[in-house]
Structure formats: structure tokens, C-alpha cells
């Protein structure tokens, strides 16, 4: 078995893998930044007391959570052109990932905000601080510590989700595995290599998450 394993072909295709890896990292970073922005805005609307802001965002979050990511990707891939918008595959993929992760990030941030003890809010209220001041000085700084680890968890999910973009022919990491498989028919070599690179990204982010867990969940309230 292992004697059949062809390292040479992996080396031969290494430029293709590295190109795919580059795209995966690039897509993940852009999508993550956009998803963070989306998530923050969506969360702000979600906890707003204005129904005009709250209800559309609840609908958005529920749609994302109730449908498979692949369906969402296909929806944008096939749907946008019929609306007369022609967007390259990479951008289509980034939009889909941004909206998908954005919804989960909104819920992560909301959970962080809700985890802050009601007494903290009352202390702020009773000293006369307004909503924005309570958010800025009391609630968000305390929510931040509990939000960072699940956010990094979502980042890990997002990196793995980029693999689905291979299905709309984005030349990312998984796609390079598919290419090697179809050209040489060596799926074991191809996808072990692909898996190895995903694991590298994963362990990098996990190390960061563990470190932040120690650093940031500071001074628990009581």
C-alpha cells in the first residue's frame, strides 16, 4: 500500500497545491473580514429595539441557519447571473461565505453580549450612563473575552467551508486535489496533501484560539 504512495507526483504538483493554498487563505481572510463586519452590523440590528431593523435580520439569520451552505453557494452562482449581475466565481464564493459566516458571527456576538451579567447593566444604568456608553465601556469589553474563542472557531469552519467553492470551479486548495485526481488518477496522494494543508491552517488557528482563551477570558466577574 504505502509502497505505492507516490511522493514524486506530489512534489510535481506542489506549485498547483501552493497556488490553491494561496487562494484558500486569501478567500478565507477576505470572507472572514467581511463576515465580521456583516456579523457586527447584523448583531447590532438583531438586538435593536426597532422592529424595522430586527425582523429583517432575524429572517436573514434564520434563512442562513436553515439551509445548507452549498445551496447558498449555488443560489448565488446561478442566481446572480439571472439577475443580470455577472460576478466571477471567486467573488461569488466570497459573497456566499461572507453572508453565511456573518449570520453565525452575529449570533456569537449576541451570545457574548447576553452573557454579561444583568447587574452590570443595572450598575451602568443607575449611575446615569446611556445605552451607547454602557455598550462601549461595560458590555462590549466584557463580551469581547467570551466572544474571541467561538469567533476563532467560526474562522476554522470558514476555512474548511472554502472547500465547497471547488464545486463552482474556484481554483482553491480542494480544487487542486481534484485536478491532480483527474489528470493522474491519484486521489490518495491528492487528498492527503490537501488534508495536510487544511490541518496546518487548523492547528495555526487553534493555537491562536487556545492562547486567546488563556489571555482574554480575563478576570471573571465573580
Amino acid at each position: 500500500m504505502l509502497t505505492d504512495f507516490n511522493f514524486r507526483v506530489i512534489l510535481e504538483y506542489m506549485p498547483l497545491f501552493l497556488e490553491g493554498l494561496k487562494h484558500t487563505v486569501f478567500i478565507a481572510i477576505i470572507a472572514l473580514v467581511l463576515a465580521l463586519i456583516t456579523g457586527i452590523i447584523a448583531c447590532a440590528c438583531r438586538i435593536s429595539r426597532f422592529k424595522i431593523l430586527r425582523y429583517p435580520v432575524i429572517t436573514y439569520i434564520e434563512i442562513i441557519r436553515s439551509t445548507p451552505l452549498l445551496v447558498q453557494i449555488y443560489f448565488f452562482y446561478f442566481g446572480l447571473p439571472t439577475l443580470g449581475v455577472s460576478v466571477p466565481e471567486i467573488q461569488t464564493g466570497i459573497i456566499a461565505l461572507m453572508l453565511n459566516s456573518g449570520a453565525y458571527i452575529a449570533e456569537i456576538i449576541r451570545a457574548g453580549i447576553k452573557s454579561v451579567d444583568q447587574g452590570q447593566i443595572e450598575a451602568g444604568l443607575s449611575s446615569g450612563l446611556n445605552y451607547v456608553q454602557r455598550m462601549r465601556f461595560i458590555i462590549l469589553p466584557q463580551a469581547f473575552g467570551v466572544t474571541i474563542p467561538p469567533l476563532l472557531g467560526q474562522a476554522i469552519v470558514l476555512v474548511k467551508d472554502t472547500a465547497l467553492l471547488s464545486l463552482i470551479s474556484v481554483a482553491e486548495l480542494t480544487r487542486s486535489g481534484q485536478t491532480l485526481t483527474s489528470e493522474r488518477f491519484m486521489p490518495t496522494e491528492a487528498f492527503l496533501t490537501v488534508a495536510f494543508f487544511y490541518m496546518c491552517i487548523y492547528f495555526g488557528l487553534k493555537t491562536l484560539a487556545d492562547w486567546s482563551q488563556k489571555k482574554l477570558i480575563f478576570r471573571e466577574a465573580y
Binding site: 447587574g119 443595572e122 450598575a123 443607575s126 449611575s127 446615569g128 450612563l129 469589553p141 478576570r219
Partner: protein, 242 residues
């Protein structure tokens, strides 16, 4: 000055405050006691609008608390509130805890706010803890910081909701000492507590509540030694056996 006029409040079906009429003149130290669930916390939480009311009116320094047009920031700047569980901000140092509201609510310059904060901290005997975080303090120290945080706003009225009942017995004294000091300074104080010693020493009046009603009020000596109602007598005998 605080006045309750025909105040009624319900939590769903539960009638927590039933037809409360009460006048607390400027400078009075009022101790509120009563069995658990009688509505003591709710009563004082209505004074700075931590709770809404459904009927009646509460007036604090000429402001009608529950009127939508009332400037709540001004009201809350004049009324301090000390919680049973302290509720210091864990993400800030002791000094930052005390400076936050003076800077952002009263718009006092940072340097002045720090001066005030250090003064108040000294007043509660915790000058050396300015740079500490709340979690590094004992319960008694945290509660003294919470009092200093209120004092930095120079409130005319201070509300205390069982300020010593979350504390280990050996720390109760240090907090009560600070409160005794305040009482002698003419700040209007409403204190929910079962500390009879404190009540006898500094309270002008004791108010006894049960089931959302004011059952009895009186001078502390008379109330504790000679309660007029059976319910109060029963309650006092229970806290005495503690």
C-alpha cells in the same frame, strides 16, 4: 426628598407594591425591612427607575420619575444605588470604576475626576487599592469601592439594597462603618437591611413591609422593642434568633 403617591406595581399577577404612600424628607435615614419577597428591593428600585410602575407617581427632588419627559440622566446622577452583589465592572481597575460616571455622565475633566475618585477611595479606607481589579478584592472591599463609586457622583440620595448580606460576617462591620459615616453627613439614605444594630444606631425611621404593603413605620427603638403589629413582632423574633 422622595415621595410615593398611591404607587401600585404588578409583576404579572403578583401585586408587588400595593398602594404605597410614603414621604422621605431630605436627610432622612430610612431602614426598610420585611420578609423575603415582600417587595423591599422593588420599592427602592422604582426610585431610580430600574423598575417601571403601573399606577401612581414617585417624585424625587421635584422630578416625576416615571414621566417619559423626565431627564433620567440627571435623576440618576442625583441618586446612588448600592447593590447586594456590588456589581463593580470587572474589566476596569478600582479607580476606573469610580471615574467612569463622573467623566461620562457629569462630564468632569479626567484629572478632576481622578482627584475626586482618590478622595472617595480614601474615605472608604482603600487608597492603596486604586490600581487593583475588583476580583483581587474581598467582598467587603468591593462593596466599599461600590460605595465610593456612588459618592464620586455626589448624590443627594443613596439607596442600598441589602449591602451587607452577600458578605462574610467579619466584613460586615467595615461596610456598616462607612454607611454610619454617610448617615451623619445628611445624605438621604434608604437602606434595605436586617442589620438591627445599624438601624438602631443611625436610622431615623424603620419601615416594615409585607406582601407589597407598608405594614408599620416607627422610630427604630420603638419598632424593634415594641412593634405595633403581630406581623412585625413575628418578623423581629425571627431575625433575632439568627
Amino acid at each position: 426628598m422622595i415621595e410615593f403617591k398611591g404607587v401600585n406595581k404588578w409583576f404579572g399577577k403578583l401585586h408587588v407594591l400595593a398602594e404605597i404612600n410614603l414621604f422621605i424628607p431630605k436627610g432622612e435615614v430610612l431602614v426598610i425591612c420585611g420578609p423575603s419577597g415582600s417587595g423591599k428591593s422593588t420599592l427602592i428600585r422604582c426610585i431610580n427607575k430600574l423598575e417601571p410602575i403601573q399606577e401612581g407617581e414617585i417624585i424625587v427632588n421635584e422630578m416625576s420619575v416615571h414621566k417619559p419627559s423626565t431627564n433620567l440622566t440627571k435623576l440618576r446622577g442625583e441618586v446612588g444605588f448600592v447593590f447586594q452583589q456590588f456589581h463593580l465592572y470587572p474589566n476596569m481597575t478600582v479607580l476606573q470604576n469610580i471615574m467612569l460616571a463622573p467623566i461620562h455622565v457629569k462630564k468632569i475633566a479626567k484629572a478632576d475626576a481622578e482627584k475626586i475618585a482618590r478622595e472617595k477611595l480614601e474615605r472608604v479606607g482603600l487608597s492603596e487599592k486604586a490600581a487593583a481589579y475588583p476580583i483581587q478584592l474581598s467582598g467587603g472591599q468591593q462593596q466599599r469601592v461600590a460605595i465610593a463609586r456612588n459618592l464620586a457622583m455626589s448624590p443627594e440620595i443613596m439607596l442600598f439594597d441589602e449591602p451587607t448580606s452577600a458578605l462574610d460576617p467579619e466584613m460586615i462591620g467595615e461596610v456598616l462603618d462607612v454607611m454610619v459615616g454617610l448617615a451623619s453627613e445628611g445624605i438621604t439614605m434608604c437602606v434595605v437591611t436586617h442589620e438591627m444594630g445599624f438601624a438602631k444606631k443611625v436610622a431615623h425611621r424603620v419601615l416594615f413591609m409585607d406582601e407589597g404593603k407598608i405594614i408599620e413605620t416607627g422610630k427604630p427603638g420603638a419598632f424593634f422593642d415594641n412593634p405595633k403589629t403581630d406581623r412585625a413582632a413575628d418578623f423581629i423574633s425571627k431575625i433575632l434568633t439568627h
